[in-house]
Point group: C2
Chain length 385, copies 2
């Protein structure tokens, strides 16, 4: 169900030839109200795609009526022609939906530099077909239409006290934090203001998508959009709502991690004993981005030396000679020296847990990442994306 699980939403996913495979490649998600409150977070990459620049303007007033998303081309670095394509996409959708173009969020994903006249014609065709096929059951088709190298669609739904939060996500490579890290649309029939949605979304993404760092590469096109229809008539407490949005975001983030390009291990790096949460995040990210560590996990090697070497490049509070490191529950390093033998560690399961105790405070954070594999190199060298 994903984005159509909450009342007040319709969606669709159509195929217009942007993907050479002939699979669905344009999705539309429409908020039928009664409310049209919205919030969004965007990639912090300074090299931004045209849809990002457009959507940042759209979201400024906290109102959005619909989201149009395409796969099969990023419409990034395609010049003023590409920006006009985004503008025309919003205008065409607005016209057909009877709303203002300034209330249409636009998202694109695919190869950077794609955005010629053929691309534009197909996207506009997709808007028309997509709006014609809108349905309260269209969430599944929409979630398929945003897939790129994803092997499966990502959807999540939570219902509580009469209101629902549902979402869809795409992302398989170029996953690194920076507020948003992929294309995500989340809908809810709870009745909340745009300002409340903004608080909830920022809090939720901060501890979910922002802590997923599959390959250290930050995209130019990523955004997470949250739309609220108010159709449930229920106005939840903001804390409860934030909790549920966070659950949906974490569920989607774990699905993204589990489908990361070429990965053979899903690695959770839990940093405890940190002097601050930001220290814990910095240490976790540094380890998550260390290619030698990531290659060692692929090789089922509990190489704690590479973990300490990665921690040592951070500015976090820690004493290199008072750090413990465990791999899947086996402490192989204590007080900055060898502890239990490496042979005691079983790294064959896909789920991998690294526990780092900095012994410098009471804060903690968990970063999700993947290993560095032959398949990762193959997928990102053999195919342009």
């Amino acid at each position: 169900m994903s984005v159509t699980a909450a009342r007040g939403f319709e969606a669709s996913g159509v195929a217009v030839g942007l993907k050479s495979t002939g699979k669905r490649d344009v999705a539309v998600v429409v908020n039928r109200g009664p409310r049209s409150a919205a919030a969004a977070v965007f990639t912090s990459n300074r090299a931004k795609a045209n849809p990002i620049m457009w959507s940042q303007q759209v979201i400024a007033d906290g109102v959005a009526a619909a989201v149009v998303l395409n796969s099969g081309g990023a419409n990034c670095f395609t010049g003023s022609f590409g920006f006009q394509t985004t503008h025309q996409t919003a205008e065409r959708a607005a016209q057909l939906l009877g709303v203002s173009a300034g209330d249409i969020i636009v998202c694109s994903t695919g190869l950077i530099g794609t955005g010629d006249e053929v691309f534009r014609a197909k996207v506009l065709d997709g808007v028309e077909q997509g709006i014609a096929q809108l349905s309260p059951d269209g969430g599944e088709a929409a979630s398929e239409a945003i897939m790129t190298t994803d092997s499966r669609a990502k959807r999540a739904v939570r219902t509580q006290d009469g209101w629902t939060v549902g979402g869809m996500a795409k992302g398989a490579g170029m996953l690194a934090p920076g507020l948003a890290t992929m294309l995500v649309v989340i809908t809810t029939d709870a009745d909340l203001t745009a300002a409340e949605l903004d608080v909830a979304l920022r809090q939720a993404t901060r501890v979910s998508f922002d802590r997923l760092d599959s390959d250290g590469c930050m995209s130019t096109n990523d955004q997470v959009t949250l739309l609220a229809s108010g159709a449930s008539g229920v106005r939840p407490e903001l804390a409860a709502f934030t909790g549920v949005v966070t659950e949906v975001c974490l569920d989607l983030a774990e699905q993204l991690q589990g489908d990361a390009e070429g990965a053979s291990h899903d690695i959770a790096i839990e940093v405890i004993g940190a002097a601050s949460e930001s220290d814990a995040v910095e240490v976790g990210r540094s380890v998550a981005r260390n290619n030698l560590f990531k290659a060692a996990i692929f090789g089922n090697d509990p190489n704690w030396g590479r973990v300490l070497a990665a921690i040592g490049t951070t500015a976090a509070a820690f004493d290199p000679y008072d750090v413990d490191v465990s791999f899947n529950g086996v402490r192989v390093c204590t007080a900055g020296g060898p502890d239990r033998p490496r042979e005691d560690v079983d790294l064959t399961p896909r789920a991998t847990r690294i526990l780092i105790d900095l012994k410098s405070g009471a804060d903690a954070a968990t970063i999700l990442t993947n290993d560095l594999t032959h398949d990762y190199v193959h997928e990102n060298s053999a195919y342009s994306s």
Copy 2:
């Protein structure tokens, strides 16, 4: 000749069983004077090996009589026993050479966490054998004894106006800047003070080893040591001397790049039009560390979108819509949009040149890196290091 090209130096390389292959694994380089001026730069990793902590004390007074180096074990995170091993290494060498232990630089390389009693006994044996075999022709043997996964020894020599600078280096993985990036010993018979050597070495490493970023991973053990014997009796201008030391460092850095683990391309990322040299370095490093870019080069794909996405993560002054990117002389991106077709680029040669014009100033820098290959993943997943 490497470290014995300059007059006043003797060296040796012996095999004591630290390497399972039976190859040379302990090197000794001795300065016979008349001067014993020295300078060194060290890894900026906060997780430092025992030999780094020792050698930082030794170099503080600008005097060093000898350098003892071992491969086959990093003596890093081996507790107080490991530090005592370093101390005993220096004491044994000092005793045999008739100098102070406080004038013996110690370096180690190999697997972190290696440093038990067997390791200590072998290293001390290596000191004895190495000092017994010291020779004015020992530079070649010494350069072989510091190899780890290196496929060949790295040596460089320059002679000018009656004085010589020679050096040896090891390093094949874990190459990333942070003052020093590998084990390097450089010797000269020029007559300079320790303060002058320090100026020359820092300037030389800043534009050579500091701009080599093979895999973004910073080691715990790296140091570059410069020893001056004064045996030529010539006192060169500091600028001329710095120029020659820089040439030797660049030569060794390019040899390290050319022998990087598993690499199939040697990539020079030249950033021009930068508002400052540090902007140029930041942009070059960001591109050099982008796994998607590195995998694309392995796949002979001139993926300029990944270059722009990497630039966008920096704080450097630039306008994403006014950047030019060329691959091997073919400008595939101009003004932040597509230019010449990707098909015009030939990325099959190992030597690869990326030119990035930020159009924001007059400063420039070149960063050296390698591609991300199946062999890199294999070497770093199948073997512990």
